[in-house]
């Protein structure tokens, strides 16, 4: 399908939800839902998306949707998938009429890196057929911008503030993608709403994969990262151009993970001069402002650049 055909599809996420103006999450979710082509059930963990789209008595979901708690969206998906399989096996039950049921689970970085990791790991090990979309805005945004395992090094959050003694988060972002790939699931990919067709295609790949698929979306948050509300996609693009968040896919085939870089990151791999310095990214977000004012913290910026460089190199070793 091309852009015009996708644009003509009805919106499965209705307008009128309470997410912030410029929110990266809803753009990402709207694009994910454009990949829906078969009967689908969606489940979501507690977080910005969940509370803002289902403020009783309103709902924005024009798909069957369930939320139960914060740490268990992968278990939610497991239950739905199991019920469907049982009904198909029995040949009766309300969902037995569908040849296939697509299940999409949305969770934030909080509900994935930290509290949700147990349920996610269990669901992946059991091999349930669903797509897990990680909406990574790099902090517990819904409860007030507290740090999570997905918060990047040196970022200021309300529980890792930039203070006189400690300049933001001291720990590096947990390498969640590697943890997921180590579960040897059929499909893992990174996406950004700055590249809509790439995102939709990858979600389609995930839905078509037999077994669990994991799609990691970097979701810039104007409120939490502190940038003007119209720069959301600019931030997403910058994250890719600085190789802080490269775009790639990984399929597990014949006992090995096979990585392939997506076009925006592949161009940089082929043309290293296109790689932008991390300072450009850090400078444009309020959560890193303590690295520039009252004085420039070149020591930390250098650490971040080195950290990003080494992770990028590790990816290239695997992907090229």
């Amino acid at each position: 399908m091309n852009l015009k055909e996708f644009a003509a599809q009805p919106e499965l996420l209705a307008s009128g939800h309470r997410l912030c103006a410029g929110c990266g999450e809803t753009t990402t979710v709207r694009l994910v839902l454009k990949a829906v082509s078969r009967p689908t059930i969606v489940t979501t963990a507690t977080g910005c998306l969940e509370v803002s789209t289902t403020v009783f008595p309103y709902t924005s979901w024009d798909l069957p949707w369930i939320h139960t708690a914060f740490e268990n969206v992968a278990a939610n998906a497991s239950g739905i998938e199991a019920a469907f399989r049982a009904m198909r096996r029995k040949g009766r039950g309300p969902l037995a009429k569908y040849d296939h049921l697509d299940i999409i689970a949305f969770a934030g970085d909080g509900g994935t890196y930290d509290i949700g990791l147990q349920a996610l790991s269990g669901a992946l090990e059991r091999g349930h057929d669903f797509v897990y979309v990680l909406l990574d805005n790099e902090a517990y945004m819904n409860t007030g911008i507290q740090r999570s395992g997905g918060t990047p090094y040196a970022a200021a959050t309300t529980t890792s503030p930039a203070g006189k003694v400690i300049p933001g988060k001291r720990e590096w972002k947990k390498p969640i993608d590697e943890i997921i790939i180590a579960h040897e699931i059929p499909y893992v990919a990174t996406v950004s709403s700055a590249y809509p067709l790439d995102l939709i295609g990858k979600v389609r790949n995930g839905l078509e994969a037999e077994g669990p698929a994991f799609v990691h979306a970097l979701v810039p948050c104007p409120r939490g990262w502190r940038f003007p509300s119209d720069q959301t996609l600019v931030m997403g693009r910058l994250a890719i151009q600085t190789c802080i968040f490269p775009l790639w896919e990984c399929r597990f085939e014949m006992g090995r993970p096979k990585y392939s870089l997506s076009a925006p990151s592949l161009s940089i791999a082929r043309n290293p001069k296109m790689k932008k310095p991390v300072e450009e990214y850090l400078k444009s977000q309020g959560r890193f402002s303590h690295l520039f004012r009252p004085q420039q913290r070149d020591d930390i910026i250098k650490e971040i650049q080195e950290g990003v460089d080494v992770r990028w190199e590790r990816l290239l070793e695997k992907a090229l």
Binding site: N76, A86, L95, Y98, G122
Partner: protein
């Protein structure tokens, strides 16, 4: 008159639950092992591996996920079962509230076991008592026969259109779960007929009146967010459903009785009609107590007992109706509520009688914690103290501990 030919089988409580489940053939069983429930999951796994059921068995990675998967399987329109005990139930505590408020009739067997710390694998009621406010229907079984019978009835009770609540079937850990008993089992088709197919209520969603389940043909949103303007009303609805469950438990129990010859209700009174002293309690100890009552009766004492089967919803009317003429009542509590005056059952029973026109003397006897045995001798002691209270016309000590080394 028993209409159906039943098969006598040697089963312990866990096996009886697993066997009933096999006959029901639910869509999903998702469970995590914990002593003393392990035999249920093991036996059921054998049925699955041998193709004797069509159930999808999810070997979940924690109890929290076990109940979660049951909730969403029921939401998807299937029948789902889980089982646990003690700290497993404590781990899924959050989800018990969610199952009840999402009005999904999950059935869960709890092999009652003490909560840590210290770690104790033996039977007492502290685990299920910890979830008594969650909105689940809680039924306590006296023996493995009742465990078998109640697991079958649980689906009809929970799925009833006026009720729509999850049901907890409680059986004492080790005492019932691991003890071999004679159990009369119904034929497969009779169980299937009794349980029937799940029927769904119609609900008004944002796209119209649809069945209360997830289906791509009719989008519904389950698990929304309430602000202060709606939460209270949603909770009131749950309280209403609990009240509606009271007659349903009796109706289903009677229908079951017509088929099996074993009728069940909210309470199980034993030699109470002319009793002057009586004990009230839950679970297997009441079986022992029945033997003690018989013994005391033969000695001329007017003893009786009331076994409460449905702890939630609490059968206030039935309790008043059967006990108000008794002079001295002893409540047997196999759980403690630290900081309260007496245990959970004591608090319910005393509260029940506060406005009644005739009130017995009511005293509390904490017993059996962590699997401490409650022998016939100890029960005899309880009755004797009830007799003392009756003669004195007042309760000497409202809360006592039976079988405790001082």
């Amino acid at each position: 008159m028993v209409l159906v030919v039943q098969k006598l089988m040697g089963l312990n409580g866990d096996e009886a639950v697993a066997y009933a489940l096999k006959q029901i053939n639910p869509d999903v069983v998702s469970a995590y092992p914990i002593t003393p429930q392990t035999i249920i999951v093991e036996r059921f796994s054998e049925y699955v591996a041998n193709g004797e059921v069509e159930t999808e068995f999810i070997a979940v990675e924690s109890e929290h996920s076990a109940l979660t998967a049951c909730i969403t399987a029921e939401a998807a329109g299937g029948r789902a079962f889980t089982c646990t005990a003690a700290n497993g139930l404590a781990f899924m505590w959050e989800m018990t509230y969610i199952a009840a408020s999402l009005r999904l009739p999950v059935v869960m067997a709890v092999a009652n076991r003490a909560l840590s710390a210290p770690l104790n694998i033996h039977g007492d009621h502290s685990d299920s008592m910890g979830t008594r406010d969650s909105g689940w229907i809680q039924l306590y079984c006296e023996n493995s026969q009742e465990a078998y019978d109640t697991v079958i009835q649980a689906w009809r009770i929970g799925e009833h259109p006026e009720v729509q609540l999850p049901v907890m079937v409680c059986l004492d850990g080790f005492i019932l779960s691991h003890t071999l008993e004679n159990v009369m089992t119904l034929p497969d088709e009779v169980v299937k007929d009794f349980v029937g197919e799940r029927v769904f209520s119609k609900v008004r969603g944002h796209i119209g009146e649809v069945e209360y389940r997830l289906d791509p043909e009719h989008p519904l949103t389950m698990g929304s967010m309430d602000l202060y303007d709606f939460y209270f009303e949603h909770k009131r609805q749950q309280a209403d459903a609990m009240e509606k469950a009271l007659p349903v438990i009796g109706e289903v129990g009677e229908e079951y009785g017509r088929i099996s010859g074993r009728t069940y209700g909210l309470v199980d009174p034993y030699r109470l009609e002319d009793a002057e002293i009586a004990v009230v309690g839950l679970g297997s100890t009441m079986g022992t107590a029945k033997a003690v009552v018989d013994q005391l009766r033969s000695e001329g004492m007017k003893a009786g007992l009331l076994r409460i089967r449905a702890f939630r919803p609490f059968p206030t009317e039935a309790v008043i109706g059967t006990l108000s003429h008794v002079k001295s009542v002893g409540v047997l509590d196999r759980a403690m509520s630290f900081g309260a005056l007496g245990g959970p059952l004591f608090n319910e029973v005393r509260n029940t009688f506060y406005d009644a026109s005739r009130r017995p003397l009511i005293s509390d006897y904490a017993y059996g914690l962590g699997g401490r045995d409650m022998s016939m001798d100890l029960l005899g002691k309880v009755f004797r103290s009830l007799e003392e209270n009756r003669e004195a016309g007042k309760v000497s000590e409202p809360v006592r501990y039976i079988g405790l080394r001082e």
